[in-house]
Symmetry: C2
Subunit: 321 residues, 2 copies
């Protein structure tokens, strides 16, 4: 791959927007494009760039995979509708949980989500839409980490030699491939995204499936969804780059009502980083850690233990799987 | 069970020692007693009470089960020899690891260690010694938690209706059954134990096996032993009641030399407590947490992630299995 990074200090936001809008127009020509909106800043920026370039000829789809945070599909569809951008909400929960059943290996889980999304659900939607192009929010860090073999991002296809036109029936356009998160946020702000979205902590492609060690079932996703809501509520003003709750597969001993309870453990991580390449755990006040533990054990059924991630990246990664 | 607790404020240390020495003498009569020294304050106090009562008629055995901390067997035998108390060191590593092979359930692991210790190794040693009595360091919290069903302590037998005389060939004497840790420490101090022992943070009966989630193998014990040494070195002056490293079975994503490394996670716990019935995680300075994570990921092979336990007891317990 020969993508050149546009460093933050070299980024002319308005020129970048004009350039990408023009490039999308040229690539799609008289055709129709689709894109998947996930709610993260990357896909939100791509949606607005595509909408600016193509107007009604961009069909934006929000796939409800059952792995989202509480209320997330409704919130994102509402927000974009509020900005004048139509979004189609597609419920594909059963397909995703069907594909994930019985899988515990992180790579197999990622692969099941990728395949279900691109090959089954999205390919079908694209085919039905008659679109010839897919707009996708791949960014520079995604490419770098995938090429380095650190992490298989869900949205890397062409860079790995996958011919999307032959495999899936559409050509991929990646307008923000040269940017990292800080640059993408600036572009989002300039495009009129509200701060809730352009400054949003990143959320992984496989969504809450990336926050579940072991098998991803509706019940286990429901637990980590509840813990995630608590973590986000408590840490929203922390100023951290990203924060998350992770449901472990390991069982740990606890006590409920004076009796032994072999229960669940939730790990909380909260990261400080400039570029997501290296990162440090946030030095949260101990009172905040206590509040996290108290609410998670008090509210999430079966959780008897909470930990806080204290290792740096590297050797850790920010996500757990 | 009808054991009455002696509360700390009611404890007359010297009277307690005289009383227990007399009781041991009466129970053993002209016989011989054995006891197992583990290195914890409980068994250390019992060893000294027994030695005071019986002199050479007490045979103290240190069983090296392969689950101890680095250098622990040598240190404890040396220390008691220095106090004039003979200790026999018995290597039973292979028997313990043989019994633990393939076991992942915490109760089965505890049971394998209990059975290997009492029924195999120790019963054989007792039989060879001709002893009629076993001195044991069961304390009030052990009994309470076992009766409440919170945790099956390794050293609770008679209280569960197990007739040790019929099952194992000896009668059990439990001199510190009415005391909790703070009282036991006072008795140890009065008996002349050095502070390194009487103020020692508690360590569980199943030793490092209690710090390994999943199968207990020599290799996995070696990893948690190394992490434990780091945690103890860094937290020795923390003033905390107990601190520990736990090897998880869950695998987590990390990066080594720029490449993905699906690695191990160590959880650190550090507890503040008065009575071990309820406990709070210690509010360690964040610099200390960073030092723990940095040294553990830097020195323990394969560890890419470190967490710190932030839940209270209850609903957590202090140990993880």
């Amino acid at each position: 791959m020969d993508v050149q990074e546009i460093a933050l200090e070299d980024l002319d936001v308005n020129a970048f927007i004009d350039q990408q809008v023009k490039a999308i127009n040229e690539a799609v020509a008289d055709g129709v494009a689709v894109n998947a909106l996930s709610g993260g800043v990357d896909s939100a920026v791509v949606t607005l760039l595509g909408h600016k370039a193509l107007g009604e000829r961009l069909k934006t789809i929000f796939v409800e995979n059952g792995l989202m945070r509480a209320g997330e599909p409704e919130y994102i569809v509402g927000l974009f509708n509020g900005m004048g951008v139509p979004v189609v909400l597609v419920d594909a929960k059963d397909e995703f949980f069907g594909a994930l059943a019985g899988l515990t290996d992180p790579e197999e889980k990622r692969e099941a989500i990728t395949q279900t999304f691109y090959k089954d659900v999205f390919a079908r939607l694209v085919k039905d839409s008659g679109a010839t192009n897919l707009l996708q929010g791949t960014n520079f860090t995604d490419v770098e980490e995938t090429v380095a073999g650190i992490k298989r991002q869900h949205n890397i296809l062409a860079q790995l030699g996958i011919d999307t036109e032959a495999s899936y029936g559409y050509k991929v356009i990646e307008p923000i491939l040269a940017l990292r998160k800080p640059g993408i946020r600036l572009v989002g702000k300039a495009l009129g995204l509200p701060e809730e979205i352009y400054a949003r902590p990143p959320f992984p492609g496989p969504a809450l499936a990336a926050r579940v060690i072991g098998e991803v079932t509706p019940a286990r996703v429901a637990l980590v969804r509840q813990a995630t809501a608590i973590v986000e509520e408590i840490l929203v003003d922390s100023g951290a780059f990203q924060y998350m709750a992770i449901l472990h597969e390991d069982r740990v001993t606890g006590i409920r009502d004076g009796r032994r309870d072999f229960g669940l453990q939730i790990e909380v991580r909260c990261w400080e980083t400039q570029d997501a390449v290296t990162a440090d755990p946030t030095a949260l006040p101990f009172k905040t850690l206590q509040a996290l533990a108290s609410r998670i054990t008090g509210e999430v059924p079966g959780v008897v233990s909470v930990t806080y991630g204290i290792a740096t990246k590297p050797p850790s990664t920010m996500e757990v799987v």
